[in-house]
Protein backbone atom coordinates (compact mmCIF):
# COMPACT_ATOMS: atom_id res chain seq x y z
CA UNK A 1 0.00 0.00 0.00
CA UNK A 2 1.31 3.47 -0.94
CA UNK A 3 1.56 5.90 1.98
CA UNK A 4 -0.42 9.15 1.63
CA UNK A 5 1.89 11.01 4.02
CA UNK A 6 5.61 10.40 4.33
CA UNK A 7 8.23 12.04 6.48
CA UNK A 8 11.70 11.32 5.16
CA UNK A 9 14.78 12.06 7.29
CA UNK A 10 13.31 15.15 8.93
CA UNK A 11 15.58 17.20 11.17
CA UNK A 12 14.59 20.21 13.24
CA UNK A 13 16.34 22.31 15.85
CA UNK A 14 14.57 24.86 18.03
CA UNK A 15 17.11 27.28 19.49
CA UNK A 16 19.92 25.08 20.73
CA UNK A 17 17.80 21.94 21.13
CA UNK A 18 17.63 19.42 18.31
CA UNK A 19 14.11 18.00 18.54
CA UNK A 20 13.90 15.88 15.40
CA UNK A 21 16.99 13.90 14.44
CA UNK A 22 15.98 12.18 11.23
CA UNK A 23 12.33 11.25 11.58
CA UNK A 24 10.88 8.73 9.13
CA UNK A 25 7.16 8.01 9.23
CA UNK A 26 4.48 6.81 6.79
CA UNK A 27 0.70 7.13 7.09
CA UNK A 28 -1.63 4.90 5.09
CA UNK A 29 -5.09 5.68 3.77
CA UNK A 30 -7.95 4.82 6.11
CA UNK A 31 -5.57 3.70 8.87
CA UNK A 32 -5.01 5.11 12.32
CA UNK A 33 -1.43 5.72 13.37
CA UNK A 34 -0.69 6.63 16.96
CA UNK A 35 2.55 8.33 17.95
CA UNK A 36 3.47 7.61 21.54
CA UNK A 37 6.41 8.66 23.64
CA UNK A 38 7.35 10.52 26.74
CA UNK A 39 6.71 14.24 27.13
CA UNK A 40 9.12 16.57 25.37
CA UNK A 41 10.21 13.99 22.78
CA UNK A 42 8.87 16.04 19.83
CA UNK A 43 5.58 14.21 19.15
CA UNK A 44 3.62 17.42 18.57
CA UNK A 45 6.47 18.79 16.44
CA UNK A 46 5.90 15.92 14.02
CA UNK A 47 2.26 16.97 13.73
CA UNK A 48 3.17 20.61 13.15
CA UNK A 49 5.64 19.61 10.43
CA UNK A 50 3.04 17.53 8.58
CA UNK A 51 0.50 20.37 8.86
CA UNK A 52 3.04 22.76 7.33
CA UNK A 53 3.04 24.99 10.42
CA UNK A 54 6.77 24.44 10.97
CA UNK A 55 9.40 23.97 8.29
CA UNK A 56 12.09 21.32 8.80
CA UNK A 57 15.79 22.21 8.70
CA UNK A 58 16.39 19.15 6.54
CA UNK A 59 14.33 16.33 5.06
CA UNK A 60 11.12 15.92 3.09
CA UNK A 61 7.46 15.80 4.05
CA UNK A 62 5.34 14.35 1.27
CA UNK A 63 1.56 14.63 1.33
CA UNK A 64 -0.12 12.92 -1.62
CA UNK A 65 3.35 12.81 -3.20
CA UNK A 66 3.97 16.58 -2.94
CA UNK A 67 6.74 18.01 -0.78
CA UNK A 68 4.79 20.53 1.29
CA UNK A 69 7.88 22.66 1.83
CA UNK A 70 8.46 23.14 -1.86
CA UNK A 71 4.98 24.10 -2.95
CA UNK A 72 3.25 27.48 -3.17
CA UNK A 73 0.96 28.86 -0.44
CA UNK A 74 -1.99 28.18 -2.75
CA UNK A 75 -1.01 24.52 -3.22
CA UNK A 76 -0.44 24.14 0.53
CA UNK A 77 -3.90 25.60 1.13
CA UNK A 78 -5.37 23.06 -1.31
CA UNK A 79 -3.61 20.22 0.52
CA UNK A 80 -4.81 21.53 3.89
CA UNK A 81 -8.36 21.43 2.55
CA UNK A 82 -8.08 17.65 3.09
CA UNK A 83 -7.08 18.08 6.74
CA UNK A 84 -9.02 18.26 9.97
CA UNK A 85 -7.18 19.01 13.19
CA UNK A 86 -8.12 18.63 16.83
CA UNK A 87 -5.67 20.74 18.80
CA UNK A 88 -4.53 19.91 22.31
CA UNK A 89 -6.53 22.79 23.84
CA UNK A 90 -9.18 22.61 21.08
CA UNK A 91 -8.23 26.11 19.74
CA UNK A 92 -11.84 27.27 19.68
CA UNK A 93 -12.56 30.94 18.93
CA UNK A 94 -13.54 32.41 22.28
CA UNK A 95 -15.71 35.19 20.87
CA UNK A 96 -17.85 32.78 18.80
CA UNK A 97 -20.61 30.44 19.91
CA UNK A 98 -20.27 26.69 19.52
CA UNK A 99 -22.44 26.86 16.38
CA UNK A 100 -20.34 29.64 14.81
CA UNK A 101 -17.12 27.83 15.65
CA UNK A 102 -18.25 24.69 13.85
CA UNK A 103 -19.82 26.68 11.00
CA UNK A 104 -16.67 28.72 10.35
CA UNK A 105 -15.01 26.41 7.78
CA UNK A 106 -18.34 26.07 5.93
CA UNK A 107 -18.87 29.84 5.83
CA UNK A 108 -15.33 30.65 4.77
CA UNK A 109 -14.59 27.79 2.42
CA UNK A 110 -17.87 26.88 0.76
CA UNK A 111 -20.75 28.70 -0.91
CA UNK A 112 -23.43 26.93 1.13
CA UNK A 113 -26.52 28.82 2.28
CA UNK A 114 -27.13 29.47 5.98
CA UNK A 115 -29.89 26.84 5.87
CA UNK A 116 -27.50 24.18 4.52
CA UNK A 117 -24.80 25.23 7.01
CA UNK A 118 -27.27 24.92 9.88
CA UNK A 119 -28.20 21.41 8.78
CA UNK A 120 -24.59 20.22 8.48
CA UNK A 121 -23.47 21.81 11.76
CA UNK A 122 -26.40 20.32 13.67
CA UNK A 123 -25.64 16.93 12.14
CA UNK A 124 -22.02 17.07 13.34
CA UNK A 125 -22.97 18.34 16.79
CA UNK A 126 -25.52 15.53 17.02
CA UNK A 127 -22.75 13.07 16.15
CA UNK A 128 -20.75 14.45 19.10
CA UNK A 129 -23.77 14.44 21.46
CA UNK A 130 -23.58 18.20 22.06
CA UNK A 131 -26.46 19.46 19.94
CA UNK A 132 -27.99 21.36 22.89
CA UNK A 133 -24.92 23.61 23.32
CA UNK A 134 -25.27 25.56 20.07
CA UNK A 135 -25.54 28.97 21.64
CA UNK A 136 -22.92 28.50 24.35
CA UNK A 137 -19.49 30.10 24.23
CA UNK A 138 -16.31 27.99 24.65
CA UNK A 139 -15.71 29.46 28.10
CA UNK A 140 -19.04 27.99 29.24
CA UNK A 141 -18.06 24.43 28.22
CA UNK A 142 -16.28 21.68 30.11
CA UNK A 143 -12.95 20.32 28.84
CA UNK A 144 -14.60 17.25 27.28
CA UNK A 145 -17.24 19.35 25.53
CA UNK A 146 -14.61 21.72 24.16
CA UNK A 147 -12.76 18.73 22.70
CA UNK A 148 -15.95 17.46 21.07
CA UNK A 149 -16.72 20.91 19.61
CA UNK A 150 -13.13 21.01 18.32
CA UNK A 151 -13.63 17.59 16.74
CA UNK A 152 -16.98 18.64 15.23
CA UNK A 153 -15.22 21.64 13.65
CA UNK A 154 -12.37 19.42 12.42
CA UNK A 155 -14.85 17.04 10.77
CA UNK A 156 -17.36 19.54 9.41
CA UNK A 157 -15.94 19.44 5.86
CA UNK A 158 -15.51 15.64 5.92
CA UNK A 159 -11.70 15.73 5.69
CA UNK A 160 -9.69 12.79 4.38
CA UNK A 161 -7.03 13.02 7.08
CA UNK A 162 -7.64 13.99 10.71
CA UNK A 163 -4.90 14.88 13.18
CA UNK A 164 -5.38 14.60 16.93
CA UNK A 165 -2.93 16.34 19.25
CA UNK A 166 -3.25 14.74 22.70
CA UNK A 167 -7.04 14.30 22.40
CA UNK A 168 -7.50 13.14 26.00
CA UNK A 169 -5.10 15.43 27.82
CA UNK A 170 -6.82 17.13 30.75
CA UNK A 171 -9.81 14.76 30.66
CA UNK A 172 -10.74 12.32 33.40
CA UNK A 173 -11.05 8.58 32.70
CA UNK A 174 -14.78 8.71 31.89
CA UNK A 175 -14.39 11.67 29.54
CA UNK A 176 -11.37 10.20 27.79
CA UNK A 177 -13.29 6.95 27.26
CA UNK A 178 -16.13 9.00 25.82
CA UNK A 179 -13.65 10.78 23.55
CA UNK A 180 -12.39 7.43 22.26
CA UNK A 181 -15.97 6.30 21.60
CA UNK A 182 -16.59 9.52 19.64
CA UNK A 183 -13.39 8.91 17.69
CA UNK A 184 -14.39 5.33 16.89
CA UNK A 185 -17.92 6.35 15.89
CA UNK A 186 -16.77 9.19 13.60
CA UNK A 187 -13.98 7.20 12.01
CA UNK A 188 -16.31 4.34 11.23
CA UNK A 189 -18.81 6.75 9.71
CA UNK A 190 -16.42 9.03 7.80
CA UNK A 191 -13.55 6.58 7.14
CA UNK A 192 -10.80 9.17 7.54
CA UNK A 193 -7.09 8.51 7.95
CA UNK A 194 -6.02 9.45 11.47
CA UNK A 195 -2.79 10.46 13.13
CA UNK A 196 -3.04 10.62 16.90
CA UNK A 197 -0.36 12.00 19.16
CA UNK A 198 -0.94 10.65 22.64
CA UNK A 199 0.69 9.42 25.80
CA UNK A 200 -2.44 7.60 26.94
CA UNK A 201 -0.85 4.15 26.84
CA UNK A 202 -2.07 1.37 26.59
CA UNK A 203 -5.68 2.57 26.06
CA UNK A 204 -4.80 4.29 22.82
CA UNK A 205 -3.52 0.96 21.39
CA UNK A 206 -7.14 -0.17 20.98
CA UNK A 207 -7.73 2.52 18.36
CA UNK A 208 -4.47 2.10 16.50
CA UNK A 209 -3.64 0.25 13.31
CA UNK A 210 -0.03 1.31 13.82
CA UNK A 211 1.81 2.50 16.91
CA UNK A 212 4.99 4.55 16.46
CA UNK A 213 7.35 5.32 19.31
CA UNK A 214 9.06 8.69 19.30
CA UNK A 215 12.22 8.56 21.35
CA UNK A 216 15.43 10.54 21.26
CA UNK A 217 14.37 12.58 18.23
CA UNK A 218 13.53 9.65 15.97
CA UNK A 219 10.66 7.25 15.34
CA UNK A 220 12.00 3.99 16.74
CA UNK A 221 9.53 1.86 14.81
CA UNK A 222 5.94 1.90 13.56
CA UNK A 223 4.18 -1.42 14.19
CA UNK A 224 0.69 -2.88 14.66
CA UNK A 225 -0.21 -2.67 18.40
CA UNK A 226 0.25 -6.41 19.06
CA UNK A 227 3.68 -6.42 17.43
CA UNK A 228 4.57 -3.18 19.22
CA UNK A 229 3.89 -4.73 22.61
CA UNK A 230 6.03 -7.77 21.83
CA UNK A 231 8.75 -5.92 19.91
CA UNK A 232 12.36 -6.94 20.44
CA UNK A 233 13.54 -3.36 19.94
CA UNK A 234 15.10 -2.54 23.33
CA UNK A 235 13.81 1.05 23.37
CA UNK A 236 10.25 -0.05 22.58
CA UNK A 237 10.51 -2.88 25.09
CA UNK A 238 11.68 -0.47 27.76
CA UNK A 239 8.83 1.93 26.92
CA UNK A 240 6.21 -0.85 27.01
CA UNK A 241 7.56 -2.22 30.29
CA UNK A 242 7.70 1.22 31.80
CA UNK A 243 4.18 2.27 30.80
CA UNK A 244 2.45 -1.08 31.30
CA UNK A 245 4.42 -1.67 34.49
CA UNK A 246 3.33 1.65 35.85
CA UNK A 247 -0.30 0.79 35.22
CA UNK A 248 0.14 -2.67 36.72
CA UNK A 249 1.73 -1.22 39.85
CA UNK A 250 -0.94 1.45 40.27
CA UNK A 251 -3.66 -1.19 39.85
CA UNK A 252 -1.94 -3.32 42.49
CA UNK A 253 -1.87 -0.39 44.89
CA UNK A 254 -5.52 0.46 44.20
CA UNK A 255 -6.49 -3.24 44.41
Amino acid sequence: MEPIIQMIDVFKTFGKQQVLKGVNLSLYEGRTTVIVGESGQGKSSILKHILGLVKPDKGKILVYGKDINKISRKELKDIRANFGVLFQNSALFDSMTVFDNVALPLRERTNKTEEEIKKIVNEKLEMMDIHDSNEKYPAQLSGGMRKRVGLARALVLNPKIVFFDEPTTGLDVALSNEMYRVFFRTQTALKYTALIVSHDVPKIFKLADYVALMHNGIIQDSLPPEDFQTSENPVIREFVEKTMGRIYESEKVEG
Binding site: K48, L51, G52, L53, R73, K77, D78, R80, A81, F83, G84, V85, F87, Q88, N89, A91, L92, F93, D94, L104, P105, E108, R109, R153, F163
Partner: protein
Amino acid sequence: MFLLNFAEKLGDNFLYYVNQAGRMGIFLLLVIYNILKPPYYKITNITRQIYSIGSLSIFVIIFTGAFTGMVLGLQGYNTLSKFSSEGMLGSAVALSLIRELGPVLTALMVTGRAGSAICAEIGIMRNSEQIDALECMAIDPHKYVVAPKFIATILSMPLLTSIFNVVGILGGYVVGVGMMGLNEGTYFYSMYKDVEFADVHMGFIKSLCFGLLVVWICSAKGYFVHMERRGGFGAEGVSRATTSAVVLSSVAVLVFDYIITSLML
Protein backbone atom coordinates in the same frame (compact mmCIF):
# COMPACT_ATOMS: atom_id res chain seq x y z
CA MET B 1 37.38 37.18 25.11
CA PHE B 2 35.29 40.20 26.04
CA LEU B 3 35.59 41.57 22.49
CA LEU B 4 34.65 38.20 21.03
CA ASN B 5 31.53 37.99 23.20
CA PHE B 6 30.65 41.57 22.33
CA ALA B 7 31.01 40.88 18.59
CA GLU B 8 28.94 37.70 18.92
CA LYS B 9 26.15 39.54 20.73
CA LEU B 10 26.27 42.39 18.23
CA GLY B 11 26.03 39.99 15.30
CA ASP B 12 23.25 38.06 17.01
CA ASN B 13 21.26 41.25 17.60
CA PHE B 14 21.84 42.42 14.04
CA LEU B 15 20.61 39.12 12.61
CA TYR B 16 17.57 39.14 14.91
CA TYR B 17 16.50 42.63 13.87
CA VAL B 18 17.13 42.00 10.16
CA ASN B 19 15.05 38.83 10.48
CA GLN B 20 12.28 40.66 12.28
CA ALA B 21 12.23 43.46 9.71
CA GLY B 22 12.05 40.92 6.87
CA ARG B 23 9.27 39.02 8.57
CA MET B 24 7.26 42.18 9.12
CA GLY B 25 7.85 43.30 5.53
CA ILE B 26 6.58 39.99 4.14
CA PHE B 27 3.64 40.14 6.57
CA LEU B 28 2.66 43.59 5.23
CA LEU B 29 2.88 42.42 1.61
CA LEU B 30 0.76 39.34 2.37
CA VAL B 31 -1.91 41.43 4.09
CA ILE B 32 -2.05 43.94 1.22
CA TYR B 33 -2.23 41.07 -1.29
CA ASN B 34 -5.07 39.50 0.69
CA ILE B 35 -6.95 42.81 0.91
CA LEU B 36 -6.85 43.19 -2.87
CA LYS B 37 -7.53 39.54 -3.68
CA PRO B 38 -11.12 38.30 -4.04
CA PRO B 39 -13.28 37.00 -2.41
CA TYR B 40 -13.98 40.34 -0.79
CA TYR B 41 -15.19 40.88 2.70
CA LYS B 42 -18.56 40.57 4.30
CA ILE B 43 -19.43 44.14 5.23
CA THR B 44 -20.26 43.05 8.80
CA ASN B 45 -16.62 41.98 9.37
CA ILE B 46 -15.39 45.45 8.45
CA THR B 47 -18.10 47.37 10.34
CA ARG B 48 -17.42 45.33 13.49
CA GLN B 49 -13.75 46.32 13.30
CA ILE B 50 -14.56 49.96 12.50
CA TYR B 51 -16.79 49.98 15.57
CA SER B 52 -14.10 48.55 17.84
CA ILE B 53 -11.14 50.50 16.41
CA GLY B 54 -12.87 53.72 15.30
CA SER B 55 -16.15 54.31 17.11
CA LEU B 56 -14.90 53.21 20.51
CA SER B 57 -11.96 55.64 20.17
CA ILE B 58 -14.17 58.68 19.56
CA PHE B 59 -14.56 59.63 23.22
CA VAL B 60 -10.83 59.64 23.94
CA ILE B 61 -10.22 61.57 20.69
CA ILE B 62 -12.81 64.24 21.59
CA PHE B 63 -11.39 64.53 25.09
CA THR B 64 -7.74 64.86 24.03
CA GLY B 65 -8.67 67.04 21.03
CA ALA B 66 -10.56 69.50 23.23
CA PHE B 67 -7.74 69.88 25.75
CA THR B 68 -5.06 70.08 23.07
CA GLY B 69 -7.00 72.91 21.38
CA MET B 70 -7.50 74.66 24.71
CA VAL B 71 -3.79 74.48 25.56
CA LEU B 72 -2.93 75.75 22.09
CA GLY B 73 -5.41 78.59 22.55
CA LEU B 74 -3.93 79.53 25.92
CA GLN B 75 -0.26 79.25 24.93
CA GLY B 76 -0.90 80.78 21.51
CA TYR B 77 -2.77 83.76 22.92
CA ASN B 78 -0.08 84.49 25.49
CA THR B 79 2.74 84.21 22.97
CA LEU B 80 0.99 86.11 20.20
CA SER B 81 -0.05 88.91 22.55
CA LYS B 82 3.65 89.64 23.14
CA PHE B 83 3.83 90.65 19.48
CA SER B 84 0.34 92.18 19.44
CA SER B 85 -0.73 89.46 17.01
CA GLU B 86 -3.62 87.91 18.93
CA GLY B 87 -5.64 88.06 15.74
CA MET B 88 -3.52 85.24 14.35
CA LEU B 89 -4.70 82.84 17.08
CA GLY B 90 -7.31 81.12 14.90
CA SER B 91 -4.84 80.29 12.14
CA ALA B 92 -2.12 79.29 14.64
CA VAL B 93 -4.43 76.82 16.37
CA ALA B 94 -5.88 75.45 13.13
CA LEU B 95 -2.55 75.06 11.33
CA SER B 96 -0.88 73.40 14.33
CA LEU B 97 -3.75 70.96 14.61
CA ILE B 98 -4.40 70.22 10.95
CA ARG B 99 -0.77 69.82 9.90
CA GLU B 100 0.83 68.31 12.98
CA LEU B 101 -0.92 67.71 16.24
CA GLY B 102 -4.17 66.30 14.88
CA PRO B 103 -2.68 63.38 12.93
CA VAL B 104 0.13 62.70 15.43
CA LEU B 105 -1.91 62.80 18.63
CA THR B 106 -4.79 60.86 17.05
CA ALA B 107 -2.32 58.18 15.96
CA LEU B 108 -0.81 58.03 19.45
CA MET B 109 -4.26 57.75 21.03
CA VAL B 110 -5.37 55.05 18.59
CA THR B 111 -2.11 53.20 19.27
CA GLY B 112 -2.78 53.24 23.00
CA ARG B 113 -6.44 52.35 22.80
CA ALA B 114 -6.93 50.19 19.71
CA GLY B 115 -3.38 49.22 18.67
CA SER B 116 -2.66 47.57 22.00
CA ALA B 117 -5.98 45.70 21.78
CA ILE B 118 -5.19 44.52 18.23
CA CYS B 119 -1.77 43.23 19.33
CA ALA B 120 -3.13 41.49 22.43
CA GLU B 121 -6.05 39.90 20.54
CA ILE B 122 -3.88 38.51 17.76
CA GLY B 123 -1.18 37.48 20.26
CA ILE B 124 -3.67 35.51 22.33
CA MET B 125 -5.04 33.92 19.16
CA ARG B 126 -1.50 32.86 18.28
CA ASN B 127 -0.74 31.49 21.74
CA SER B 128 -3.98 29.54 21.99
CA GLU B 129 -3.34 27.97 18.54
CA GLN B 130 -6.33 29.76 16.95
CA ILE B 131 -4.10 31.13 14.18
CA ASP B 132 -2.71 27.63 13.57
CA ALA B 133 -6.28 26.28 13.55
CA LEU B 134 -7.26 28.79 10.84
CA GLU B 135 -4.25 27.83 8.72
CA CYS B 136 -5.10 24.15 9.10
CA MET B 137 -8.69 24.89 8.03
CA ALA B 138 -7.19 26.42 4.86
CA ILE B 139 -8.45 29.85 5.96
CA ASP B 140 -5.73 32.45 5.53
CA PRO B 141 -5.36 34.33 8.85
CA HIS B 142 -3.89 37.30 6.97
CA LYS B 143 -7.23 37.66 5.22
CA TYR B 144 -9.60 36.51 7.93
CA VAL B 145 -8.03 38.06 11.04
CA VAL B 146 -5.62 40.80 9.99
CA ALA B 147 -6.96 42.36 6.78
CA PRO B 148 -10.28 43.61 8.28
CA LYS B 149 -8.30 45.35 11.04
CA PHE B 150 -6.07 47.00 8.41
CA ILE B 151 -9.04 48.25 6.40
CA ALA B 152 -10.86 49.49 9.51
CA THR B 153 -7.84 51.34 10.93
CA ILE B 154 -6.91 52.96 7.63
CA LEU B 155 -10.53 54.11 7.16
CA SER B 156 -10.97 55.23 10.77
CA MET B 157 -7.75 57.19 11.23
CA PRO B 158 -8.52 60.15 8.88
CA LEU B 159 -12.05 60.36 10.29
CA LEU B 160 -10.80 60.38 13.88
CA THR B 161 -8.16 62.95 12.92
CA SER B 162 -10.88 65.19 11.45
CA ILE B 163 -12.88 64.91 14.66
CA PHE B 164 -9.75 65.71 16.67
CA ASN B 165 -9.07 68.78 14.52
CA VAL B 166 -12.62 70.13 14.70
CA VAL B 167 -12.88 69.60 18.46
CA GLY B 168 -9.39 71.10 18.93
CA ILE B 169 -10.33 74.22 16.95
CA LEU B 170 -13.44 74.56 19.10
CA GLY B 171 -11.27 74.11 22.24
CA GLY B 172 -9.02 76.93 21.01
CA TYR B 173 -12.15 79.01 20.38
CA VAL B 174 -13.44 78.43 23.92
CA VAL B 175 -10.15 79.67 25.43
CA GLY B 176 -9.30 82.39 22.86
CA VAL B 177 -12.75 83.86 22.39
CA GLY B 178 -14.61 82.73 25.49
CA MET B 179 -11.89 83.28 28.11
CA MET B 180 -9.40 85.71 26.60
CA GLY B 181 -11.96 87.91 24.90
CA LEU B 182 -10.67 87.63 21.33
CA ASN B 183 -13.16 88.68 18.67
CA GLU B 184 -15.04 85.69 17.27
CA GLY B 185 -14.86 86.90 13.68
CA THR B 186 -11.11 87.49 13.97
CA TYR B 187 -10.57 83.96 15.24
CA PHE B 188 -12.41 82.32 12.37
CA TYR B 189 -11.38 84.80 9.65
CA SER B 190 -7.65 84.28 10.29
CA MET B 191 -8.26 80.56 10.06
CA TYR B 192 -10.23 80.94 6.82
CA LYS B 193 -7.50 83.17 5.37
CA ASP B 194 -4.44 81.07 6.25
CA VAL B 195 -5.51 77.43 6.11
CA GLU B 196 -5.08 76.09 2.58
CA PHE B 197 -6.05 72.85 0.92
CA ALA B 198 -2.37 71.77 0.98
CA ASP B 199 -2.46 71.85 4.80
CA VAL B 200 -5.54 69.66 4.95
CA HIS B 201 -4.00 67.39 2.32
CA MET B 202 -0.81 67.00 4.36
CA GLY B 203 -2.81 66.14 7.48
CA PHE B 204 -4.89 63.63 5.53
CA ILE B 205 -1.83 61.89 4.04
CA LYS B 206 -0.21 61.76 7.47
CA SER B 207 -3.27 60.22 9.08
CA LEU B 208 -3.46 57.54 6.38
CA CYS B 209 0.24 56.69 6.77
CA PHE B 210 0.02 56.65 10.56
CA GLY B 211 -3.05 54.40 10.38
CA LEU B 212 -1.12 51.94 8.23
CA LEU B 213 1.95 52.10 10.50
CA VAL B 214 0.00 51.57 13.71
CA VAL B 215 -2.09 48.64 12.48
CA TRP B 216 0.89 47.05 10.72
CA ILE B 217 3.22 47.15 13.72
CA CYS B 218 0.57 46.16 16.26
CA SER B 219 -0.80 43.28 14.15
CA ALA B 220 2.64 41.97 13.25
CA LYS B 221 3.83 42.08 16.87
CA GLY B 222 0.80 40.03 17.89
CA TYR B 223 1.05 37.68 14.93
CA PHE B 224 4.70 36.86 15.60
CA VAL B 225 4.45 36.85 19.39
CA HIS B 226 5.76 33.26 19.46
CA MET B 227 8.96 34.42 17.77
CA GLU B 228 9.73 37.11 20.34
CA ARG B 229 13.27 36.84 21.53
CA ARG B 230 12.62 36.59 25.26
CA GLY B 231 9.87 34.03 24.75
CA GLY B 232 6.44 35.07 23.60
CA PHE B 233 4.35 32.43 25.27
CA GLY B 234 1.77 32.90 27.98
CA ALA B 235 0.25 36.06 29.37
CA GLU B 236 3.66 37.58 30.02
CA GLY B 237 4.73 37.09 26.41
CA VAL B 238 1.59 38.79 25.10
CA SER B 239 1.99 41.62 27.58
CA ARG B 240 5.61 42.13 26.50
CA ALA B 241 4.68 42.07 22.81
CA THR B 242 1.86 44.59 23.42
CA THR B 243 4.17 46.98 25.26
CA SER B 244 6.75 46.68 22.53
CA ALA B 245 4.07 47.23 19.83
CA VAL B 246 2.83 50.43 21.50
CA VAL B 247 6.34 51.81 21.98
CA LEU B 248 7.46 50.91 18.46
CA SER B 249 4.28 52.34 16.88
CA SER B 250 4.56 55.59 18.83
CA VAL B 251 8.20 56.05 17.88
CA ALA B 252 7.45 55.14 14.24
CA VAL B 253 4.63 57.72 14.12
CA LEU B 254 6.98 60.48 15.30
CA VAL B 255 9.79 59.45 12.94
CA PHE B 256 7.45 59.21 9.96
CA ASP B 257 5.87 62.53 10.92
CA TYR B 258 9.23 64.16 10.37
CA ILE B 259 9.85 62.27 7.11
CA ILE B 260 6.41 63.07 5.64
CA THR B 261 6.62 66.71 6.72
CA SER B 262 10.05 67.13 5.15
CA LEU B 263 8.81 65.52 1.92
CA MET B 264 5.61 67.54 1.70
CA LEU B 265 6.78 70.98 2.76
